[in-house]
Amino acid sequence: MVKIQLPTNNNIFSSLVLTHFCETHGPSVVFTTQSEIINEYNIYEQLNTAIQENKVNKEDPLNEQNTTINIEKKEEILTLPQLFSNQNNNNEFSQYRDNLKQQQNSKISTSYSVQLITISNQQSNINNNITPNKCPTCSSLLGGQALVSQNLNNLQEFYISTHQPSNHTYSIIRNACVRSLSCEAVPGREGPVFISSSDGYFLSYMFKVNDARARGSARWYGFLLIQSEPSCLVNYFSWIVYCLKTLAEEIKSKTNIYFEKEKSQQSQQSSVISNIYRRGTRSVPLKPLTELMDDQDKFKDTQFKNQQQQQQQQQQQQQQEEQNNNITNNLNLINGKNVEELISILDKTFFPMEKELISGYYQIYKLLGEDRLGCLINHVLIGNQVIIRGSNESLVYSMVCLLELLIPKECCNVTYYSLVFKEIWESNILGIHSQVLVPRHIESQNCAIIDVEYYDKSKEPDDIDDPNRSTIDMTYNHDGTLPFMTSLCQSILSIIKQNIPKHLETIQILTLKDEWISKTKSFYALKTIIENEKDKKLPTFLNIINCKYPKDIDILMFWTVSVRKWFTNEKLNK
């Protein structure tokens, strides 16, 4: 049997419990199914605890029990996700078959598999103390054993069935069990009742099972659905009760067959009947429920159904959520590249000496001056080619990364550092080595060429001794007159000039970019309804979206590329 490390922290408190009024032990829990959500966060914790446990065990050789368990652990301890992932991988064929089934039936639940496992981490089990396994009526699984299954809709969720509830839910479930079986009454003695109190919220369904050997020829069972929130139980009242009732009816009908059989036998053996009214001194012990039902797999089955129920509730929820999410954003991150991190890695590996890199726009502003920076930004924004030349790769790299942030990811065709020249259709933001020859057809009107180098200290006059001076030399081969201006560039410059910390600057620029992307979206929509650039609607539109400069439309045109890509992607996704 597979040993499994069960999660120790129960997040959601949701349990389905089969309870029984045992003739010797009173109200007792027979079978508990609880849901567990295990994600990476939890697994990490588990591993930690497992490692710690192992350590403790090793340090404590006196405890023989522990060491033996420890050896067993070494053999094979899996977490639940591992168990099911293994299983899925091994049985590709069955998976395929299941998939087929799903398609035919669209019943996902058909492919559930329930596995019997041994719990490795519950060394001090309560159930051994309270209800010894000898009692056939109020025990189901052996202590330390569990049935597990996975929710195939939400692979993070698992259903674990044990005899007794886990430690931290024990008191709540125990209270609910006692309360439902011995304190609460329902009309006709069989049926549902919803209870909400400070002890918890649960829905109980009580039912009677015929048993010729029991007192009064009847035994009382109940299902409990315990949740942490009452509204769900009330709103699903009918449905939950329907499910529980179906389960109960099934149990009842099966036991009834056995009951009829026994009864016919009993009519000959009157001695058994006399025992029925005597408590405690039973000569013939009561048979376990499974035997009564002639169905050894009952509990497996129950688990299966419990799981199904919980799952369907979830499906419901998921659908709602999906519905929401279809409409609301499926938010993905654009380009989650962390520039600083990359640079620092590069730096540490290739350039052990610390050198100044271009880390912010304000730095460029200081080096180039407002006009030239504006010119550079404008070229980037409207999609002209921008060439960064330099002999130091990381320096060029840092500059390219900074400029890249200004435009949508889809519009970027970035080469971080190249030893050959690339044309604009190959790369619009191009980092090249300083020795690379730029072809003659590249005009300075439609292109910006920046040279970045480290300052040559030998040429530096001795009297300059400013500790904060930049070690970078940046030149923009441009006459300094601005050929054009755009609104976006203006806003970006105003942000840069504030000289605020880098993260603040980045946030502001990204916000601005976001704003302009939305402008582009509406521009894209507008393009479908106007005929040409002379359409009267266009200037009004530009006015509304606050595009005052004639060149603003170039930005919009260029950025439309990205919007078109998004729309087509989204269509493909849907």
Binding site: A185, Q323, K536, F567
Partner: protein, 880 residues
């Protein structure tokens, strides 16, 4: 078009209004230690009905003489109560106590005395009589209080009025205030009798008020039950299995303890009364009186129609459980108050009986119950908003374009009139208020992962779980704009709940405003109990549309689908039992599609039960009628989104009203705000204020009534209405946001020049999200300047790029060519201006930000959120 058909159904069903009679909502209050009942609305209703039909018969039937001496247990003389063979109702009940009443008592109190802290709620379904029995069971512990009382008496001889929680109850006066409902006779009578000074030993003469005397008779007869003549010496605490509060009782000398505990249950029976016809004949009346036992097991002869009505009503109750529970809490509170003060009286006078109510008390209770009934009835019959924009966009993608067009059309009609300086930019003001009070739109916009309620809680645990258990609460929280975490109870927060009323006598105009508001007031739809959930999965997978909306369009399809699925389900459940499976399959062959689901269920149950010989009991509460019922029976969001209503309806978060002349309107709104503040179902201690936006279209004024306990301390200018001072209410009026105004004008312009409606909405959504981004920037900038100890730069302006809405030409002038802008956008607003609507909305988002995870490690989050992938905007499936 199926889209409109769907709503026609709504209105049709509204025409034949489903009346709920008072008998369908019945309250019983019972003491565990006395066999009778303390209070039963049945009698009072009976009395009222009888009075309205004819006073003679009642007088003779229910008169009982009541003698209640001050120094002994009450006794009842019941001289000639039997007429025509019918016994007095209470007598009947007492006599009947070994029968069904015992069962009822067991259901209410449990078979074993329990000692559970707080109030326990139970729901039983009495399938024989098809009633829902909702019980509130609580134990009052008097020992501590008694000690206090004695101490107080020693120091101060004056009697002290007690309040149960020991907290300052600002709203006690609410309870004591005369009811705002139409005055009922009973209440007046109660007052009269009180005026007569006949509080204790009152003997009613034959020509006295029949109703009040009967109340006294009923209550006292219960106390005269043989088992416990003086139930005030109740030693329940010693019997109780758990120790719990026994510790406290041991601290007090036993001689001083007269009553340690009192376990009282208040039951609400929802469902058919024993008689369903309000106007009965005398004979029927008598029969009814004999059937006073609440557990009348003989099933009333319900015809199909009544049954359907009933299932609808119960469905409604189940769906609205959270709200109903909230109202019941008020009644329970009053009841506890009454019992406490009763006890105080007893302990003062060393005599009296706990088991009966005086007329005043009964009247107080009855008034509160009447209010509750009225509330349920109003809510049940409330007109719902047709075509709520946001919900319809969510639930029916196929008609999305039409829905958006309706929204834009309404907006384009209203904007030229209601978004001008003359009208105070009314519509922008309204939307600014909505967006800043209910911030649900933010969470729909910035959620990062599906299936997660994120940003609600800092706790890793809360965020990582799939909170299907909380789904209803979550829905409710979205509707009222609660943004806190629903699962961890310890978290403190400053959340607010809000609602919105739009006042305009013109129904069409009002509806347009409501529809526009319904876009910004966001929640989601949760449809449950529609059927067994499997079949919905199927629909979701196979159809673009969602069953909510294909009631009419794909009704045949859905029913057939559900059939198929249910069969699957049944087969599945049967998979282990071969015999029934077989049987079932055989029978299935004869099934045709005309069978509805219910039939199939019954059939299935029958096949299961054949060998079992058990009675087939159906525990299904509520309706399964998929096609017939409008969706608000199943969904809280649609139900609480009210339409144009002539009456004020308490729990609707959006409602249109004709005028605000009704003097009761403002007090009722305030009452509701207080109730929500005190009894909201969200984790305790997190809701700081509740507010109502009252938007008066004719005056172009948006008022916000904020109810918060903090306001009590700011007593500079308490809110006064009609001479009443409401110290916890603050009335505020906010400026409109120029930003919002600009967005609205823009999208209307876009729409009029022929842009696809979807694109307009994308623009709107983008701009709204931008508002959030701006807040993040604002937040970060503030933090930065705070950290470097520098003043916030006055030049910092987040809205400098906003185009003023006045600059956007609205439809009427679209034709004319538009020149270059004449203004500098930088001058469009000043940050320092406190009245600015832009900053108002920004600050509200800012609060939200800091209430949630976003504020904590904001840098990463904010970068991530700004980096939000822009393509996946909410409605933007481009059709091209």
């Amino acid at each position: 078009m199926d889209f409109f058909k769907f709503f026609q159904k709504d209105s049709e069903s509204l025409k034949n209004k489903n009346e709920i009679s008072n008998e369908q909502i019945r309250f019983i209050i019972q003491n565990q230690n006395s066999t009778g009942v303390l209070f039963d609305t049945f009698h009072i209703d009976n009395m009222k009905n009888a009075k309205s039909t004819g006073s003679k018969s009642v007088n003779s039937k229910t008169q009982t003489l009541h003698v209640n001496s001050t120094n002994g247990p009450s006794t009842t003389v019941n001289p000639k109560s039997t007429i025509g063979g019918g016994q007095s109702p209470l007598k009947q009940m007492v006599v009947n106590k070994n029968g069904r009443i015992e069962m009822l008592r067991e259901m209410i109190f449990g078979t074993v005395p329990m000692n559970v802290q707080g109030t326990t709620t139970k729901i039983h379904y009495l399938h024989d009589s098809q009633q829902i029995l909702l019980t509130k069971l609580f134990t009052l512990n008097f020992t501590k209080r008694l000690q206090k009382q004695i101490d107080l008496q020693n120091s101060n001889s004056s009697s002290v009025e007690s309040s149960p929680n020991g907290s300052v109850n600002n709203y006690d006066k609410l309870v004591n205030m005369p009811s705002h409902q139409s005055s009922n006779n009973l209440m007046d009578l109660g007052k009269e009798s009180q005026l007569n000074g006949s509080k204790h030993n009152l003997t009613h003469s034959e020509n006295g008020n029949s109703s009040s005397s009967s109340i006294r008779a009923r209550s006292s007869s219960s106390s005269s039950s043989p088992g416990t003549p003086n139930s005030s010496t109740n030693i329940n605490g010693n019997k109780s299995p758990k120790g719990g509060t026994n510790n406290t009782s041991t601290l007090i000398p036993l001689s001083q303890i007269k009553v340690s505990k009192l376990t009282v249950a208040m039951c609400l029976i929802l469902g058919p009364s024993t008689s369903n016809q309000p106007q009965q004949q005398q004979q029927q009346q008598q029969q009814k009186v004999t059937n006073v036992d609440p557990l009348t097991y003989h099933t009333p002869t319900l015809n199909e129609e009544v049954k359907q009505q009933l299932s609808k009503f119960q469905q409604f109750i189940i769906t609205h459980y959270l709200l109903i529970d909230l109202r019941i809490k008020c009644i329970v509170k009053l009841l506890k108050n009454l019992l406490y003060s009763r006890f105080t009286q007893i302990s003062n006078s060393r005599s009296g009986s706990l088991s009966s109510f005086t007329i005043t008390e009964a009247n107080l209770l009855y008034t509160e119950i009447e209010k509750f009934r009225q509330h349920i009835k109003e809510l049940y019959q409330a007109p719902r908003l047709e075509k709520p924009i946001w919900l319809d966009i969510l639930t029916s993608p196929s008609t999305k374009r039409q829905t958006i067009s309706i929204f834009l059309k309404n907006l384009s009609e209203l904007l030229p009139i209601y978004n001008t300086p003359k009208s105070n930019f009314f519509i922008s003001n309204l939307i600014t208020n909505i967006l800043s009070s209910n911030l649900t739109w933010l969470s729909t916009m910035i959620g990062t992962e599906p299936n997660q309620i994120c940003y609600l809680c800092t706790s890793e645990k809360c965020n990582q779980m799939n909170l299907y258990q909380n789904q209803f609460l979550y829905q409710l929280s979205q509707m009222y704009g609660y943004n806190g975490c629903l699962s961890c109870k310890n978290r403190q927060g400053n959340h607010k709940l809000s609602k919105c009323l739009i006042i305009s006598p013109k129904e069409e105009l009002n509806k347009k405003f409501l529809q526009i508001a319904s876009y910004f007031w966001r929640s989601f739809e949760l449809v449950v109990n529609r059927n067994f959930l499997n079949f919905k999965t199927q629909l979701y997978q196979q159809n673009d549309t969602i069953p909510v909306d294909n009631q009419s369009s794909t009704s045949s399809m859905s029913s057939s689908l559900s059939l198929v699925n249910l069969e699957n389900d049944v087969n599945l459940l049967n998979s282990t039992s071969s015999y029934s499976d077989h049987q079932h399959l055989n029978n299935n062959n004869s099934n045709n599609h005309s069978l509805n689901i219910k039939l199939l269920n019954n059939h299935y149950n029958e096949s299961m039960d054949q060998s079992n010989s058990a009675k087939n009991t159906d525990y299904i509460i509520g309706s399964q009628d998929l096609q017939g019922l409008p969706s608000y029976y199943f969904d809280l969001t649609r139900s609480l989104m009210g339409g144009y209503s002539l009456k004020y309806i308490s729990d609707c978060y959006l409602l249109g009203l004709p005028n605000r002349q009704d003097p009761e309107l403002i007090p009722r709104v305030i009452d509701d705000l207080r109730v929500w503040l005190d009894h909201h179902p969200f984790p305790q201690g997190t809701v700081r204020e509740t507010q109502a936006i009252i938007a008066d279209v004719s005056k172009c004024k948006c008022e916000v009534y904020v109810c918060s306990k903090d306001n009590i301390w700011n007593t500079s200018s308490p809110f006064v209405h009609n001479g009443h001072t409401y110290s916890d209410i603050k009335l505020t009026m906010n400026q409109h946001s120029e930003y919002i105004s600009s967005i609205l004008s823009s999208i209307v312009y876009f729409w009029t020049i022929g842009m696809p409606p979807e694109s307009c909405m994308i623009y709107l959504e983008d701009q709204l999200r931008n508002l959030f981004n701006k807040t993040v920037v604002f937040n970060e900038t503030l933090k930065y300047y705070a950290s470097v100890n520098q003043p916030f730069p006055s030049s910092f302006n987040l809205f400098q790029n906003t185009t003023p809405s006045t600059n956007i030409q609205l439809p009427s002038t679209v034709v004319s060519p538009i020149s270059t802008p004449k203004h500098s956008p930088n001058t469009s607003m000043k940050y320092q201006n406190e009245e600015n609507g832009d900053m108002f909305i920004l600050e509200n988002i800012y609060t939200f930000l800091n209430n949630t995870t976003l504020g904590d490690n904001s840098f990463e989050n904010s970068i991530n959120n700004i980096n939000i992938n822009n393509n996946n905007n909410n409605n933007n499936k481009n059709d091209k």
